[in-house]
Structure formats: structure tokens, C-alpha cells
Symmetry: C2
DNA sequence: CAATGTATCAAACAAAAGTTTGTCAGAGGA
DNA sequence: TCCTCTGACAAACTTTTGTTTGATACATTG
């Protein structure tokens, strides 16, 4: 195991291998439950490598987050801009806005290539970490959700701002739960809800939330 | 600190104090992140007390769970039975079924007395613990959710079973997220969504989910 | 009163944790 | 060739972890 480590002359390889393993472990276990010894052992690198490359265990978590968070937010906002651009004036379809919010992460979730699927679960789990250092990291990430508020306001011109926030909240909830508890849905339904296609999940999610929001508009 | 510990002749007092502190700490931090030393220090009891009363740290978590989980499930199922009994034949109102599902925990969440509010967050967080010993504990708890399926079927006779599971899933998601991320809703809305009343949250949640489910029935 | 069992305590235990250190091999530049 | 810098390594470091151990005080029971 230790003899075949040095067969790769590439420099970045060790760093990326650590990030991949850490991403996977932090996705299924809490920060405190994962030890740097487990990560380095599974990655086949030296124990000191994490402190060498990332300064500390906390630095590693940050690096795992930052490696992909920017890309995900870019996808979301790009899709949002596309919807807004398609409707330059007047109302924007609610479906489109919601889709821009939930489709990119759901697609990542079902993406077998690279660690995209794992990252989504990592993201969902790490939001619950309580250490202030991490909270600040994820609160920065919340900022990009604020960009969806003007779009929602354009899709629902009659709804007061407070209502919009509640709609966003419930939508994020249904999405978030899909990240973390999809396995449980499969279990509780005795395998009936065995989902392989991202499109189907996105369609269900968007339809559910759009209807829930529409009820606020009409049934006031 | 240690001199005023023995002022209470009651036996159960130490046990309950440990449970209260552990419930609170496990609600805001992961299992691995909380040490028995932190718990016992905060509870003002001896370090060995946890192993004495609960056998192990894992046993303590189980005890925290079992202390209130039964009561919560009883409330839920009681409310469900009341709705079903009020409509002995024919269709059951969807609102009532959903309300039986989400109202008890949301009420607990806003209950200032005892540790009810903390327990709900404890419950939400611990569902993500990965150790098989705990997973089994919470999968038992999933069983009582299955009791809601016949009721949902009576409320939505035309919907296939798979659809019912999805509706249950999204509803649990919106509810669950309210448990864990209510603080974030307050933050992202700049305090506009400053909720104090359980009734309002329940009403919003039930309305949102009922409409989302109704869309599946009508817009097929 | 004597005996028993329970609850609490300080102390120690072994294991695991994150981090630091010093050394060595090798590539690249002067 | 010599020097320098980077990366990888084993080893040790200091805390902290969960758990166990006896000893002691006290209430209850015989």
C-alpha cells in the first residue's frame, strides 16, 4: 500500500486525492466523527499531509467546500439569468425560477462522474455544523440565495416580501430533504420510489413547490 | 460547585439533569463533537455518572431519544385517529391528516416548558448520525410514519401509492427544514420572518403542502 | 446495631485525537 | 557540482477521548 504511493510524479495528485476522500467522508459522517488518520489512511498518503496542504483539519473542510461551491452557485445563477433574460419585461414564470434553484444541485446529485453527487450531501450535512468558523462559511453561501428574491418578486408581484421568504424556505426544505433523506424515501416506500432520473425528481419538486406557492397567491 | 451537588436527596435528579444537558448539547452539536466530560461538567455531576447510569455514551443518546419519542408519536397518532374518527366513512380532509403529522412537533418546538423545543432539534440532527446502532433506532421511528399512509390514501383516493410517498416525503422535508433552519430563515429575511407563534407556522406549512399535493391530484 | 446495596467521587487507564518535528530524497537553477 | 526548495515520510508530542477502578458516604433493610 505504501510502496505504490510514490509512483505518481504529479504534484497536485495527493492534494486532490485527500479532497476526494474527505469530501466523501464528511458527506456521510460529521466533522468530529472523521479523523485525519482515517482520511489519510484511505487516501494512501502520509498523516502529516493534511496539515501540510491545508494547515489544519478545519482548513481541509473549507477547501472541500470551496472547491465546488462556486461552480454550483454559478450554475444556479446562470440558469436564473437565462430565465430572466427570456422574459425581459413583465412577469417571470415561477417554474423557471424554482427550476434554477433546485435543478443544478439535483442534477449534480445524480451525476455519476467525479464527486458531484457526494458534494451535495456534503453540503447538506455541513450546514448543521455548529462551529462558528464553518457557520460563517455557509452563511456566505446563503448570500447567493438572496439573489433569487428579486426573481421571485417578479414571478409573484402581488406577494409581500415576507411571504416570498416563507416560500423560499419551504422550497429549500423539500429540496434539502431530498438531498439527505432520499435513501429513507426508498426505504419507507419499500423500494417503490426507486429514482434514477434527475429530471423526474426535479419535475416533482418544482411542481409541488410551485403549487404550494400559488396557493398563497390565490387563496389569500 | 462540587459542594452543592449533594444537597438534593432525590435519586432521579442526577439522571434527569444529565439527560437534559445531553439533549441540549446533542441538539446543537453532533454526537462525536460532544464529549462526556462536557456533559458531566455542565450538569455538575461526576464524570463516571454517564457510564454508571447509561452504560456508555451511546446508551445516553438512546436514553435521550427514548425519553420523549414515544410521547411525540403518541400525540401524532392520537391526532390522526381523531381526524379519522371524525370522518368514519368516505374521504378524509387532507388538511387534517397533514396537521396531525406536523402540528405536534411544531407545537413542541415553540413550547418553552421543559426540553420539548430542544428535543425536536435533537431529533432532526440525530437522524443524520451514521452509526448503525443509531440508524436502527431512528428507523424504528420511521415505522410510525407508515401509519399515515392509509390515512393519506383515504384523503387522496385517486392517487397511486408511489405518489403518496412522494407527497409525504416533500411534506416531511418542509417540516424538517423548519426544525433545523428556522434560524436561517430569520437571518436571510433580515428578521422579517420572526415567528413566535406555532399556530402560524403550522398553518403556513399545512397550506403549502396541501396545495402541493393537490396539484398532483388535479394537474395529472 | 450490623449488614447490604446504591450513589458519588477522585484517580487512573488505554486508546485515539490533531498537530509538530526532523530527516531524507529528488527536482531545478545558478 | 553545489545549493535550494518542495514533498513525503516516520516518529513523537500534547490533549482529549470514553471507560474502568476502588474507595467512601449514606440510606435502607435485616
Amino acid at each position: 500500500m505504501s510502496s505504490q504511493v510514490s509512483q505518481n510524479p504529479r504534484r497536485e495528485q495527493v492534494r486532490d486525492r485527500i479532497l476526494d476522500v474527505a469530501e466523501r467522508m464528511f458527506a456521510s459522517q460529521s466533522f468530529a466523527a472523521v479523523s485525519v488518520r482515517h482520511i489519510t489512511a484511505e487516501a494512501g498518503v502520509n498523516l502529516a499531509a493534511i496539515n501540510y496542504y491545508f494547515g489544519s483539519k478545519a482548513g481541509l473542510l473549507k477547501a472541500v467546500f470551496l472547491r465546488r461551491a462556486t461552480d454550483l452557485n454559478r450554475e444556479r445563477l446562470g440558469q436564473l439569468q437565462a430565465v430572466l433574460a427570456a422574459h425581459p419585461s413583465g412577469p417571470v414564470p415561477l417554474d423557471g425560477v424554482l427550476r434554477a434553484l433546485v435543478e443544478p444541485p439535483i442534477r449534480w446529485m445524480f451525476d455519476p462522474s467525479r464527486g458531484h453527487a457526494v458534494f451535495i450531501q456534503f453540503l447538506a450535512r455541513c450546514q448543521l455544523e455548529d462551529e462558528p468558523e464553518f457557520k460563517a462559511l455557509f452563511y456566505e453561501d446563503v448570500e447567493h440565495l438572496r439573489r433569487f428574491m428579486p426573481a421571485l418578486a417578479r414571478a409573484l408581484p402581488t406577494l409581500p416580501e415576507t411571504e416570498l421568504y416563507w416560500c423560499l424556505h419551504f422550497t429549500l426544505g423539500a429540496m434539502h430533504y431530498t438531498f439527505t433523506h432520499l435513501e429513507r424515501l426508498r426505504f419507507i416506500s419499500n423500494g417503490m420510489c426507486d429514482i434514477q432520473q434527475a429530471d423526474e425528481v426535479v419535475a416533482r419538486l418544482v411542481e409541488f413547490c410551485a403549487a404550494g406557492i400559488a396557493a398563497r397567491v390565490g387563496g389569500r
